[in-house]
Symmetry: D2
């Protein structure tokens, strides 16, 4: 039985991993930690868990000794993991960090896009990017995993096979991302107030979103060449769900069927990637609550554009589901343990 500690337990990201661990047959949560001074039971923070979990939340820095966990999840904002991960690593604890802290080899990239100094640059060399579809072997041997960004999971899985297969130009890629509101976390703000957000679609951080370098880095890494992408994020009135619509310029004529074959082959053995056989985009509604990413691959021969849509639940495959999948890989467990759920539809 794997013992897991969750830091940032009272946010959506902490909730997601807690839920996954509660469903997991070979892991369990041993401590829940949050920054706030509120030590109620977790099912008082999240009443849907009554009957499923009665652990009390501990205040960060004042935890009682719950023993050394096997893995710690930093479901925390940027900056926490880089400050606190080292102590866990030195104690032999595997670390999975949700933030941007360990996603780039070069601390300068972090500093440029996140606007803060990196305080643990020496850890970047060993950190592995937590996208098992591309980095499974590396994750298996790692002790520090950087869980990917929500928009990025979808975009990288949507674009990398086309770049690798030489279908599209590596420059001029467009990623038009649409996200539900939980992607912004649990803290209320005027812009996430229901009456403001309902019946409202808008673009934000148009130039530029911090997920852009992550898209470029990992599409390029898997694709075998540097890429440049324009990413524009949008917020739509749903609780969950991301749809990334990705546009790439074809390098030569290719049919939709041929393009789909590239993706079907790339993901043939992947448990969580579904490629639409006829190019239909089924929408974010069919992945809610599940760890699937659904891809629809289409070709516009007139304008010579490849158009790939990728749908994920931003809180599952876009966040805590990937974290649990990474834990399974780290510990040599079946990759879908605790993640067998299909989506909640309708």
């Amino acid at each position: 039985m794997i013992n897991a500690k969750v830091i940032g337990a009272t946010g959506y990201g902490g909730l997601g991993i807690l839920e996954g661990l509660l469903r997991h047959p070979a892991a369990r949560v041993t401590s829940l930690v949050a920054r706030q001074d509120d030590t109620r039971r977790i099912d008082e923070f999240f009443p849907h868990l009554r009957g499923h979990c009665d652990l009390r939340v501990q205040v960060a820095g004042q935890e009682v000794d719950d023993g050394t966990p096997d893995v710690v999840f930093f479901a925390t904002p940027n900056g926490v993991g880089m400050a606190e991960a080292r102590a866990y690593l030195e104690a032999g604890v595997k670390v999975i960090d949700y933030s941007g802290d360990f996603r780039f080899k070069d601390p300068a990239v972090y500093e440029q896009w996140y606007g803060a100094a990196h305080t643990a640059p020496d850890l970047l060399a060993e950190a592995v990017y937590g996208l098992p579809e591309f980095y499974r072997a590396q994750i298996a041997g790692a002790r520090l995993v950087a869980n990917p960004g929500c928009f990025v999971v979808a975009a990288v899985l949507a674009l990398a096979p086309a770049v690798k297969a030489g279908l599209i130009e590596p420059s001029g890629i467009i990623v038009d991302g649409k996200s539900g509101i939980s992607g912004a976390g649990k803290s209320p703000k005027p812009t996430f107030h229901f009456p403001h957000r309902n019946e409202n679609v808008e673009a934000y951080r148009i130039v530029e979103h911090q997920h852009t370098p992550e898209i470029e880095t990992y599409v390029g890494d898997f694709g075998g060449q540097p890429v440049t992408a324009t990413f524009v994020a949008h917020i739509v009135p749903t609780s969950r769900g991301i749809l990334d619509t990705c546009y790439g310029r074809l390098r030569q004529d290719v049919s939709a069927a041929e393009a789909r074959e590239v993706y079907l082959a790339a993901y043939a053995d992947e448990p969580f990637v579904r490629v639409s056989r006829d190019g239909t985009c089924h929408g974010t509604g069919v992945v809610l609550g599940s760890n699937f990413v659904d891809l629809a691959v289409n070709v516009n021969p007139r304008t010579r554009q490849l158009v790939v849509t990728a749908a994920v639940d931003n809180l599952v495959k876009g966040q805590a589901g990937s974290a649990l999948q990474n834990m399974n890989v780290l510990f040599g467990l079946p990759e879908d343990q605790g993640l067998e759920r299909f989506g909640l539809y309708p």
Copy 2:
């Protein structure tokens, strides 16, 4: 007082023009016609109109003689206007048609994109495209106006100034459109059933939507050169609202401020176009119920992309509001009569 007849009165498009005419100080509705065999009062179809309109709906083809109207609105699907407009024109009635029937000079374009033969090709020469911002003078002298497509109003206003000013390449343009569900009309279908549509974002008609040639034609016409665009339509869970996010490759370095100046100048005298001074996209929520189009112009210098968002209410500026604006131009009335409403927020 302008007497107006509305054909297709029981759909959203008919409702919109009826509402606009009810608000209009110089026009009135004299007859409401629909295809169905249901002659109840219009406020039984639309109970929000109780106290405002008690006209009875007439069955198309069986209208009583309400006298010859000054203008007829075809708030009807493709094919109706081309079959029935001629009789009105010959009787001296101005015609405003909502469908694709009269939007292209070349009937072959219609036939290619709409998949049906054009039965009144001789009328295409005189038809004027109903976008007053670009074709005000032509509309003023016309008797047949083709009201523009909902996605197109936003996209053309978003892109044409950049093409005209030579800011962007005329090829490789991307329009990523997000629409609320009323854009699909009032007929219930599985795909518009609330439980299916709620918490769901999807792309549809990825290759290709019939609004594409209209975008290309009118961006190109106003921009002064042929353009090619990839347009992908998405459906988001709102009742109203379209946000078109438009991407164009810069031809030379230009700052966001310079690009905004081009748009501010282009629309300086337009009553219904608002250009965001600082590039903020305020979203579709601030245009609901109004005839405004809100533009946000941004430049990504790193990837050399111009990104322009355009927000409209698809049922107002995207449909019936444009139709009323066109009527005002046709009859020499102040262009904003009946259209002074600001949006319903929140």
Copy 3:
């Protein structure tokens, strides 16, 4: 031209009266005041107003001299009006207050239900309850009007005719209220965060809501006898709209038709009350943005219950629309000036 000042201009209640005044042919806004230290233009707070209003917000207590207004609207929380109204009244300014401050003749009722001392009890004697349907004459001669509570407008109009006509017992009345989220104001809180509120219906303040004594007082006053009511408030995932479902025990057998006649007669001359002729409840969707209250009157003969539903837009007839209607009555203007809008549907 009536000059109006709005205190609390940056909340939903202030926005509503500003919008109404902008539409009003015989009134204008001369100053906008808010408590916060933010003196941007009002169209920066509310971008949908760009092109319609460019007034700057003033900081409460630091207003420049805009001259003495004819009327001041306190779109403010409880406690502000009772502290500040007197100075305006003494200067000859009419006052319309949105809060609970002036709704009860007896300060002890206020103190019991609002949990605070009343600091201007002497003003209660002259304050008039701002429900023109029942107190038109009194409002016309007043200088201080207490605008009614949002749930209350609907409930009182739904219940008072039945009590007055002796159709129902004055005790044991149930009001089950369902409100959209804007009823809670513009300040973001965890409970109004979109992801929490979406797909969620809940009851709150079950025992008891501060609108209860107001329902009892004014149903009883108009009905001619004391009444007791149980009111339970619910929150539903809409931006706007209240539906109050009101249940009363029949005193004798009465048919639905007879009951409807009572209501049709009671409201025959009212411009903003619509009684459904066949008992159909058309829902809150048909009153959004309008000042209407829609009533549906039904009788369950088996259980001997009268069931009356009342739908209002909580921000219009439930708040700022009533305030404007009250202003019209105060100044002898046509009661529907600035309020002619029908709802935004769909």
Copy 4:
């Protein structure tokens, strides 16, 4: 391994039981049947099931021989079960029917409230009402189970303990039910069209809903005396979720704490009933996707009303979850097998 057949597999009710069976460790689906002439794979009807189920839908009446199942679920409208259940029963197959067909001992009740003749009245004697919380023993020995109505599950669990304990009068009960839209099924209709339903709350079937006699029958049966209730159904803009707010007149003074004790005791051993300890109603949002019913018990001492809210997911505890729970009871399995899910929040 229990072999299960699902009739009505392409509706929401069929989907729900299919999903439950896919999760169930001791049961499996052997055939899926629907009335329509469409034999695609079930994951083409419901793309979220891709990767989880590839069974093909069979046309009702033309099934291939899949062997005799152990249990058949009639996820069908009224009338189908009464016509077809007998053949299964005679073949030794347990039957669980979702409709009103077998919910009443007296066929006259069915005929009065459902407006159709009952064609299998002899089966009513043996049919057991499928609410395990009250009829566990009877279900265990039955071969024909009438799955309860969605509004009814919530109302009966909310009211019966109070009646049984003598807390409230058995007459004059009010049930104000609020349901999401999936309760109306999967067929698109104008009233469930997204733009009509969004931002809209309405009451329907005000006098009277067919769930009323079921509420009265089973509250009375468990409560030990006949009861009369007024039930008014409302539709709110969510996909899932029912909140029943139930009002009963207290027979004597009782505190909220005492009333809660009655409920806590009544449901102490129930795996799926959660009683709020402090009376907070957590809303439908915390039960989505789960088989829980969440009760909040409050007392208004001033008006002497007991107010109990009950929240369920109408498609789980309100439908397919109850059906699966009933199957578990029928076959002596742990009652929560396949039903361990907590809700999807947010």
